[in-house]
Structure formats: C-alpha cells, structure tokens
Amino acid sequence: MDAYLIAIGTIAGIYLLLALGLNLQFGLTGLINFGHVGFFCVGAYTSAILSTKGVPIPLSLAAAAALAMLAAWPLGIISIRLREDYFAIVTLGFSEVVRLVVTSEGWLTNGVQGIAGIPRIFRAGGGEAQAVLMLGLTLAFCLISIVAMMRIVRSPFGRMIEAIRDNEEAVRSLGKEPARFKMQVLLLGSMLAGISGALYAHYIGYISPDQFIPFVTFQVWMAIIMGGVGRISGTIAGVLILMFFLEGSRFLRDVAPFIPEVSMASIRLGVIGLALILFTIYRPQGLMGDFTKR
C-alpha cells in the first residue's frame, strides 16, 4: 500500500507540473493550448534518447526542458498572434505532428516499438528507497514551480498577462505588446511540460508514441477546470481530483465485480467525463473559486 501511495504521488507530481504549465498559459494568460502533450512528448523522448546513449541524467533533464522550449519557439512565432480558437487548433495539430514524427523516425525513436530500458534517476539502494527519492525529486520540481508561479502572479508581469487574458485589445491600446508576454508564457509552460515528460520517461522506464495522444492534454485540461482555472491552489486541487477519479475507479471493480476488465478503461473515462459535466453545471468556477481573487 505504501508503494502504491508513493507511485500515485509521483504520477500526481508529474501531472501537477503539466497542469501548472497549462494554468499559467490558459488560467492566467488565456492561451488555449490544446497541444500540451506535444511538449511533454518532446521532453520525454529527449531525456530518454540522451540517457540511454549514456548522457548523464541531470544533463538529459536540462536538455529536455531546453528542447521543449525550442519546439515551442517557432510554434509561437507563427501562431501567437492568432485568435485564441485558431491558436487552439494549431497547438492541437502541433502535438499530433510531434507524435507522428516520433512514430515514423524509427532511427532516432525506435518508432512504434518505443524506447525501453530508460535508466532510473536514482539507482542506489533498494526499490523502495529509489521510489521515495523519485517522489521527492518530482515534488521538489513541483514546489519550485509553485513558488515561481506565485512570484509571477504577484509581479507586474503577472498583472500584465491577466490583463491580456481579460482584454488583449485594451492592452495594446495602452502601449504594450501582448505577443511578447504570450510568447514567454508559452515557453515557460512548455519548459514545465518538458521537465514533466522527462521525469515521466525515467519513472516509467518505457515510452512509446501511443502514450502521447491528445487525451493526455485533455486530462490536464479537466484537472485545471475542475480545480479552478487561474488559481494555483485550484491547479493542485484539480490534479488531486483527477487522480482520485483515475485511481478511484480502479477500486470500482471491488464494489461492482460484474464489470468486465476490458470495459474498465471506458468506465474510468466515463466517470471523469461525468465529473467534468457535473462541475461545469454546478461549479463552473471550479473547486477553488474563480478568476476573481487569489
């Protein structure tokens, strides 16, 4: 049971990094990024490929963050000035392009077979000690990101991105260029997704293209919507709710053993979908409040 909780905690931390990035982009700035998983994928593959080729893991983690940002940069240049719905479509397309590239460039990514034997970050000690250290590292990244995010929210930069979320035209009328701020937000969010992807790859030990489908992006969206868009506490709460539903539905079989194994995946999706519907009807501002105040 302890091992189970440590595992859930680590996965929750990985989701939290993704969700913090998306909350910065959508919750605070209003960027509708439907391609978050693309940057997660870039980070995962970068660190997996480098570390299996013998590059030290601290370096491969840094490279994952850098490459995720490097992928976001040209995307930002061509799409950051688009209206928000168009930006959403472009980013969704981007994440699918990333997935297709890692599927077809077998010489680099081993194609559909994926990359196995990705080294763990902590190799000393027994399995349990390794797991605890991995949990600690993941949560440390989360903590740093949360502190940084709080700093951003309280800064004039944070005020400006909220202004952009509320009314971009008005921001321009005051002599500020929204594109500059949105680009930085896109890069920061991608960096978090890249780090998250690298941690995921080293934690799971095996990655393949089918783990990086748009559904991952939408799980993160569900988390921030259920928790409360635009608030850091909401992001944390949302990830916990998401984990509760994802994991809780595992135990559904104990109460309802008549459900066949193959239906479980669909049932879990159904449960999350139902929760999302109930949230949008009864608590559209999410669990932790609304846009209004921190």
Binding site: I152, S155, P156, E162, A163, R172, S173, L174, K176
Partner: protein, 253 residues
C-alpha cells in the same frame, strides 16, 4: 503634442468607409467628431490608433510619421484611445487596471521580477502613488478594490480615462465617452475632461450627445458616409444646412 491626420482612407473590397479624412489637433486642443451612425467615425479612430490598417494616408504625431506603426507603438508615443464599449480588465480590480497601464515597468520583465525584487518593489510603490492620485482625481475611491467588471457603464468610462492618464498620454481619443452614462456622471466626466485639457492634454472626441459635446469642444468636424462634410465652431456647424441634412438623412434628428 500635435496630431495630424492626413488623407486617411479605408475601403473594404470597394466599399469606402473612410474617405481621405484630414484632421489637425493642435497642442492642448479639444475637438469633437460627429456624424450619423455608420459615418466612419469609429473606423477613423481605429485607423489613427493603429487598430486597423489604413489603405492610404498618414498619421503624424509631433512631426513623426506613425501611420505604419503598431497600435502599441503609437500608444507609446503618447496617443491613447478609449473604446465605445468599455474594455476594462473585468477580472482585475480598478486599482490593478490602473497599475497595469503604467508605462515602462521593469517588473514586466521576468528576469527583473525574479532577481531584482527591490527595484520592482520601489517602482510598484511609485506607480501605486500615481494610481492613488488618479483614483482620487476620478473619485473612484469607493470602488478602488472592486472588480472592474462590476462597475457601472459610467464608472467604466472613467476607468478607461484613468488608464489613459496612467500611460502619460498627451493626446487622448475618446470614443463616445458619454454613451450609456447617466446625466449626473456625464457632467462629472465633462468636468474631468475639461480639467485635463487645461493641463495640456489634447482630446479628440466622438460623441452622439451633441449638447454635452458642444459645451466641451472648441471645434467640431462632421463626418457622413466616410467623408468630412463640415467643420467649424459648434455654433457654425450645427447651423449648417448640410449637417442638418446628413443627420436627418441618417435618421437622427
């Protein structure tokens, strides 16, 4: 600051909405632009402030051609507009709205926000003091910490004026400042505009409330179907048969 609008034109696939309009706003002058609905007044504002690209003509601010610059660049030169339908930052407080408008904030740079907290804090304090002054000037004290989205129409117009002031603008273009504002607040708003004008800020104002506008401006320009059809003092213009024709023709007696 002198604003010269020179022969500015805009057409949408052959339909001319603004046709070679020229207006000169002298240093500290206050000018009104009137005309029936659809005359092209708001489009003209968008062309002058860079929210729309003109097909032809130029905008010159203090001798500098700015007709090809972005909206934000033009605003940084000291010419700021407001909007017909107020565009407040609805989920931010009145105070935050005004803070955001201050120019050249070092804390808008992420590196400074993270690594030079003292520089940023000092500047925030400075901006905060200016915001307090602006709030007191506009008599928005009671709502200073309310969300801007919850203000009345008139208060939102005041807030937009306040944001323009916070940028340090020398020329302010007001797009229907009195629309949807109750008569008491119109008087209040007028007196604030007059006071700012006395401090040397130039105003170009689009307005349908001819009474309130005539008491404010020294000169009126009249637009109809994209063109300037008359200009002069409010008395001259309102007596002009061509203007009466345009207004009655436009259904606005």
């Amino acid at each position: 600051m002198i604003l010269n609008i020179n022969d500015v034109s805009k057409a949408y696939s052959g339909l001319v909405v603004v046709d070679k309009v020229s207006i000169r706003l002298d240093d500290g002058e206050m000018i009104g632009v009137i005309g029936p609905n659809g005359a092209g007044k708001s489009t003209l504002f968008s062309l002058v402030t860079g929210f729309l690209e003109a097909n032809d003509g130029d905008v010159v601010l203090d001798g500098r051609s700015i007709g090809r610059q972005s909206a934000a660049e033009r605003a940084r030169h000291g010419m700021v507009r407001t909007f017909q339908v107020p565009r407040e930052f609805a989920n931010m407080t009145v105070r935050e709205n005004l803070m955001a408008a201050a120019p050249r904030q070092s804390g808008e740079n992420l590196i400074n926000a993270f690594f030079r907290p003292r520089l940023v804090a000092a500047q925030e304090k400075e901006i905060g003091a200016r915001v307090d002054e602006t709030i007191a000037f506009l008599k928005l004290e009671r709502v200073a910490d309310s969300l801007a989205g919850q203000l009345s129409g008139g208060q939102k117009k005041l807030l937009e004026l306040g944001r323009a002031l916070m940028t340090g603008a020398r020329v302010i273009l007001l797009d229907e400042p009195f629309a949807g504002v109750n008569p008491v607040l119109i008087e209040e708003l007028s007196s604030k505009i007059r006071e700012l004008n006395a401090r040397g800020i130039g105003f170009l104002i689009i307005e349908h409330d001819l009474g309130a506008l005539s008491r404010l401006v020294s000169k009126l320009y009249v637009m109809d179907r994209g063109r300037l059809i008359a200009s002069g003092t409010p008395q001259e213009v309102l007596a002009d048969p061509l203007v009466r024709e345009a207004y009655i023709g436009g259904g606005l007696a």
